[in-house]
């Protein structure tokens, strides 16, 4: 992964509201050349709005965005020619075959592909045998791959992917991850939004955690997880009657998402002993108890006080 410290996207203090709803509130971050940068957050967190401001499709109420050294508010056309975008909805023309979509979009960028060039691009995305298929005949994963292929017809320096694996089965998701890694290996900078913790952790060089329009944390996944200071999470279904979990020795923090109670600790054995004793005293079953090493899910929980909601 060849990343540099040259920022290709600079987002400074942007905010955007729709009526009384604040979609994005004072977000600032840079994206460096060659990296995979992820915006991680639940649906409605403001990720897509932030992305559309970077694309130049929406104007921020405040703040500024520079893409490849150009202000998006004044250079949208020049920027569009140098970025590739895949939308969450895939946005494929329902009446056109896959190969026709590639040829059409290449023409819209003034770089007309002939059939063999279009076929070759489709083959790069394992869609060679689907060249004559219309979107209605493609699976969810194939549609997403076609949408990403279309985002590459203009050989963009930056590729923006909005929830690229949303709704895909695990196998298709992993396949798409490989394609995204390949894009990076070919020197492209990638900005993606996701609400999948594992995706952000596996794919992204840096992750920005966003919720309710606010950027809560920004770092590499490893550094974000290290902020958890080695805390392990013990999760158990919500207990009735409630046990005073904070009083158990070794407990650092306790969160509840309505379905489960999450206990953070650095001393799993001590907490488990205390939990079992309390459960015995209160005649409560601990049920489906499970223990996890810290991951981005815990980071999110730590910053927001709730689990990511899909």
């Amino acid at each position: 992964m060849q990343t540099s410290l040259e920022p290709v996207i600079r987002v400074e203090n942007i905010s955007k509201s729709f009526g009384s709803l604040m979609a994005v509130g004072s977000i600032t971050f840079d994206v460096y050349r060659g990296e995979i940068f992820g915006l991680l957050g639940p649906n409605g967190a403001g990720k897509t709005t932030a992305l559309t401001i970077i694309e130049g499709l929406r104007c921020a109420d405040n703040g500024s965005v520079e893409v490849l050294g150009m202000d998006v508010s004044t250079n949208a056309a020049s920027i569009k020619a140098r970025i590739g975008v895949q939308l969450q909805t895939t946005s494929l023309l329902p009446d056109l075959e896959a190969i026709e979509q590639v040829m059409l979009f290449s023409r819209l960028y003034g770089i007309p592909y002939d059939r063999s060039a279009a076929q070759s691009l489709l083959e790069d995305f394992d869609l060679g045998d689907k060249a004559r298929s219309r979107p209605g005949k493609l699976s969810g994963g194939q549609k997403q791959r076609l949408a990403i292929a279309l985002a590459l017809v203009n050989e963009p320096e930056i590729v923006l992917l909005d929830e690229p694996t949303s709704g895909l089965d695990p196998q298709s998701r992993r396949k798409l991850w490989r394609f995204i890694n390949d894009l990076q290996a070919h020197g492209r900078t990638i900005v993606l939004t996701t609400h999948y913790m594992e995706e952000a952790e596996t794919l992204c060089d840096r992750v920005g955690i966003i919720d309710h329009g606010r950027l809560l944390a920004l770092d590499t996944p490893v550094n974000l997880i290290n902020q958890m200071d080695g805390r392990t999470t013990i999760s158990t279904p919500a207990l009735l009657p409630p046990i005073p979990l904070q009083e158990i020795p070794g407990v650092i923090d306790v969160f509840s998402d309505g379905e489960e109670v999450h206990i953070q600790t650095k001393d799993v054995v001590l907490v488990l002993e205390g939990l079992i004793n309390h459960a015995k005293k209160s005649a409560v079953s601990l049920g489906n108890l499970h223990i996890r090493q810290p991951n981005l899910e815990d980071v999110f929980l730590n910053f927001t006080g709730h689990k990511i909601r899909n």
Partner: protein, 261 residues
């Protein structure tokens, strides 16, 4: 400096127009192989044509040939139904964020919307020509070449007007299915009012229907195909149809939206 800017603007304009034409041709090709689309917008008028043709094969009143009234109406119907596809497609593209995707290309969105409209207009014209050919095969009409050429001009104008009308509906209706239904249920009564002989209608309706775009289109096309000349109110109809096309176009230009709001 000014000359350089003008040159770059001109280049950018011609690149956009070229892209819009290529987009239009791609859509036209897709339209012509879309079985479902053709089943409705071409199959329906063709079915009407055969129905009228069969039901008028028996002994007829010498003074009134229903086929000569209904045939031009079916031609006009095939042309005007292009607006139905436009109404559905524009709303669908907005629903499925296809306009959003187009807006991310360097080609200005209005050029692509015009390209999509042009594809629909040509589709409507080709549908009308197909019904014309069927009518000629059935021996319904034998227009002179000059009358046929003028009728084709009126068919083109009708296609422009009704494709614009379809776009207007899609501009104000977010859902594609609703947009199609609204076009259909607005258009069909207007079509029937415009296609039957006005003498069959109440006096008040006779005064109103001359201002309907469907009446204008059917009268203009029908008179050319059957009689070979303009109808009595030909200039009014021609001007009216142009006015409708312009008004619909202006509404589209002002109110068009690329995303669901």
């Amino acid at each position: 400096m000014t000359a350089r800017i003008s040159n770059s603007k001109l280049k950018s304009f011609s690149t956009s127009m070229l892209a819009a034409i290529q987009f239009s041709l791609t859509l036209l090709k897709a339209n012509l192989r879309n079985g479902k689309l053709l089943a409705l917008s071409l199959g329906f008028p063709a079915f009407m044509l055969f129905t009228f043709w069969i039901t008028t094969r028996g002994p007829q009143d010498d003074d009134f040939d229903l086929m000569l009234v209904m045939f031009p109406a079916t031609v006009a119907l095939a042309v005007m139904l292009a607006g139905l596809t436009q109404a559905t497609r524009i709303a669908q593209w907005r629903e499925q964020e296809i306009f959003h995707r187009f807006a991310l290309t360097p080609v200005p969105l209005p050029a692509l919307v015009l390209g999509a409209g042009a594809a629909q207009i040509v589709t409507g014209l080709l549908q009308g020509i197909t019904i014309l050919l069927l009518g000629a095969l059935l021996g319904v009409i034998r227009p002179s070449p000059s009358a046929l050429l003028i009728a084709l001009g009126f068919m083109l104008l009708s296609a422009v007007t009704f494709v614009s009308f379809g776009s207007v509906i899609a501009t104000f209706v977010n859902r594609s299915d609703a947009s199609g239904y609204i076009f259909f249920f607005t258009f069909m009564p207007l079509f029937f009012l415009g296609s039957f002989p006005s003498e069959m209608l109440p006096a008040l309706m006779q005064k109103i229907i001359v201002y309907l775009p469907t009446t204008m289109a059917i009268e203009l096309i029908g008179h050319q195909l059957v009689a070979g000349f303009l109808p009595e109110k030909g200039i009014l109809f021609l001007g009216g149809l142009i006015m409708y096309a312009v008004v619909f176009g202006v509404i589209n230009a002002i109110f068009f939206k690329w995303e669901v709001q």
